[in-house]
Each structure stands twice: as structure tokens, then as C-alpha cells.
């Protein structure tokens, strides 16, 4: 039982993700999480202002049940299968966190960004709103996110997915190494 409460190794986690993608293929579905965001827009009547949201989202409603499950999974994992400790990141990363004014004794997510108390700071709102917007906009522009491109697309040896993943890293590296000192 103890091994469940410990953080899972990268090998077990990576294998299970691939297995999940495989089972979805056997069910005739494609693994991809960001397309649900498009479905939300369509459900809220987005088809009236853009033909992009004028599609049969009900055909993809299976994916919305995956979302419900993912939320339940997050609840169960955080409440019953975990001690809520900070991930055991490397010492050098911890040192770098100090420059961002993020404490190295922390929870699963940095309290400086993801605690209710942090919402009293307008900067937290700005980071969350801009970050979320870029994720949603970029994922749809690129036609997929980490699950659709980095896992599903690359597993099917798709060149477009490789280009997208290179883009993910150009953006991510620029954010962390160039923009973070100005933001935090």
C-alpha cells in the first residue's frame, strides 16, 4: 500500500499513459484533452459567433466523461493517495525558486500562486489569466496539447506533432529563462 502513497516513478507513469492511449484507440477514440475546451465553447453557444464552434460536439461527449473522471481522479489522488508534499525536485531548482520568491518548503503546487490567499494579489490573477489564455489559444492554434501532440501524435510518428512539440519547448524555455525574471 505504501508504494501507492509514494510519488509514482516516471517509468510506471509513462507506461500507464501509453496504455491509456492504447485502450482509447481500442475504443475507437483519440487521446486528447484540449479539444474539450472547444466543446465547452460550443456548448455555451459559440457556434453563433464562429463556425469553428459550429460542430457536433455531442459526438465527442465521451471525452467530457473523461474530464469528469480526471477531476474525480485528482480528488481521490490528492485526498486519499497522497501526503500533499512538495515534489522532490532537484536542489538546483530549489535554489532557483528563491530568486522567484517561491519558497522551497511548499505543497504540491506553489502556495504563492495556487492558494486561495494568493488571490488577494492582483499579480496572481494576471499570471493565471494570461497563462490559461495562452494554453487555450495555443493548444487550439497548434491543433492539440501535450496529450494530442507530444503523446498521441509523436507515437504515430507525425511530423506536425514534432514541430508542435519543438514549439512547446521554444515557448516554455523562453518563458522560464527570459520572462520569469521580469514576472516574478
Amino acid at each position: 500500500m505504501d508504494f501507492i502513497l509514494q510519488p509514482w516513478s516516471w517509468f510506471v507513469s509513462g507506461f500507464l499513459i501509453a496504455l491509456l492511449m492504447f485502450v482509447l484507440l481500442l475504443l475507437g477514440k483519440r487521446f486528447g484533452m484540449s479539444s474539450n475546451l472547444r466543446a465547452f465553447c460550443s456548448m455555451c453557444g459559440g457556434g453563433r459567433v464562429s463556425s469553428f464552434f459550429n460542430y457536433n460536439w455531442k459526438k465527442d461527449s465521451w471525452n467530457l466523461f473523461i474530464v469528469i473522471g480526471a477531476m474525480l481522479g485528482g480528488f481521490i489522488a490528492s485526498h486519499y493517495l497522497s501526503d500533499g508534499n512538495m515534489p522532490a525536485i532537484s536542489t538546483s531548482t530549489k535554489l532557483a525558486l528563491q530568486d522567484l520568491n517561491i519558497s522551497a518548503v511548499n505543497g504540491y503546487l506553489p502556495e504563492e500562486l495556487f492558494s486561495v490567499a494568493a488571490l488577494s494579489d492582483v499579480k496572481t490573477w494576471a499570471i493565471l489569466i494570461v497563462g490559461g489564455f495562452l494554453v487555450g489559444f495555443g493548444a487550439r492554434y497548434a491543433g492539440g496539447c501535450t496529450s494530442g501532440h507530444a503523446i498521441s501524435g509523436l507515437s504515430n510518428l507525425q511530423l506536425p506533432s514534432l514541430i508542435a512539440v519543438v514549439g512547446f519547448f521554444i515557448g516554455g524555455l523562453f518563458m522560464v529563462h527570459v520572462l520569469f525574471p521580469f514576472i516574478f
Binding site: G69, T146, V166, L173
Partner: protein, 138 residues
């Protein structure tokens, strides 16, 4: 009804994997983009090795779905600009928010209230993309 339960269960497994592997933690994403640990690369790399293997098995042995239909995985549309520009925008957000769409759902379930702002902003970003789609290079 039965199928809905199956999808909820698969989503639940996905959520537990994302949380327990720490792929849903901002700290791990930050560490990944600083190349200071193998952890995230190990997760994605292992998923890829087995993912490629599973898809090759499907293709070589013409494995059918549970319903007996052939599995045809459509090729992605050819383009460079949309994948590169879209990818860069996504990467900027992924590093800042420390969460991609899958983990965003997982973290909402885990009870991190500010993640709801992240989720709504991601829906807004998707919506604005839909409005601007025809004006953007693809």
C-alpha cells in the same frame, strides 16, 4: 450508460496518474524547462516508447476496436506555421501556468481553487482562437 462509466473510469485513472506522477505539479514543469531532472523526460519518453510500440502493433496486426471496426489514425494536416506558432504560444502558457489542459482538469478536482481561473481563461483563449482563426496563418 455502460460506456459512460468506462470513460469516467478511464478519466479517473488518467487523473490519478497525472497527480501521482507529479506531471500536474507546477514545480515539475519548471524543473523540466530548466533541464534539472530527468523525471518529466522519463514520463514522456516512456509513454512515447510504449505508445509507438502499441500503434505499430495495431498497424502490423490490423488490430480492430472492441466493436470490430478497423483503427485508422488520420495523419495530421501538413503545415509548419500553425504548429510552430501555436506550439510556441502554448509553451509560453504551459511554463507560466505550470499545467497543460489535462492536469488543469485534474487540479480542479484536487481542490485548488485558483485553477478554476486558469480553466476559464483557457476556455476564453480557445474561444478567441475560434474568433480569429480565419485571420491567422495556418
Amino acid at each position: 450508460m455502460m460506456k459512460k462509466v468506462v470513460y469516467i473510469l478511464l478519466g479517473l485513472v488518467f487523473g490519478v496518474i497525472m497527480y501521482k506522477s507529479e506531471a500536474a505539479s507546477w514545480f515539475r514543469i519548471y524543473e523540466m524547462f530548466r533541464f534539472e531532472s530527468f523525471h518529466m523526460y522519463g514520463i514522456i519518453g516512456t509513454a512515447l516508447v510504449f505508445g509507438i510500440l502499441f500503434i505499430q502493433l495495431i498497424k502490423r496486426f490490423n488490430i480492430k476496436t472492441f466493436d470490430g471496426e478497423p483503427i485508422i489514425i488520420e495523419d495530421k494536416d501538413k503545415s509548419i506555421s500553425r504548429y510552430l506558432i501555436g506550439g510556441i504560444i502554448f509553451g509560453l502558457g504551459w511554463a507560466l501556468a505550470g499545467a497543460c489542459p489535462g492536469p488543469i482538469f485534474v487540479l480542479v478536482g484536487a481542490g485548488f481553487v485558483p485553477i478554476i481561473i486558469l480553466l476559464l481563461s483557457a476556455v476564453l483563449g480557445t474561444f478567441v482562437y475560434g474568433l480569429l482563426k480565419d485571420k491567422l496563418p495556418h
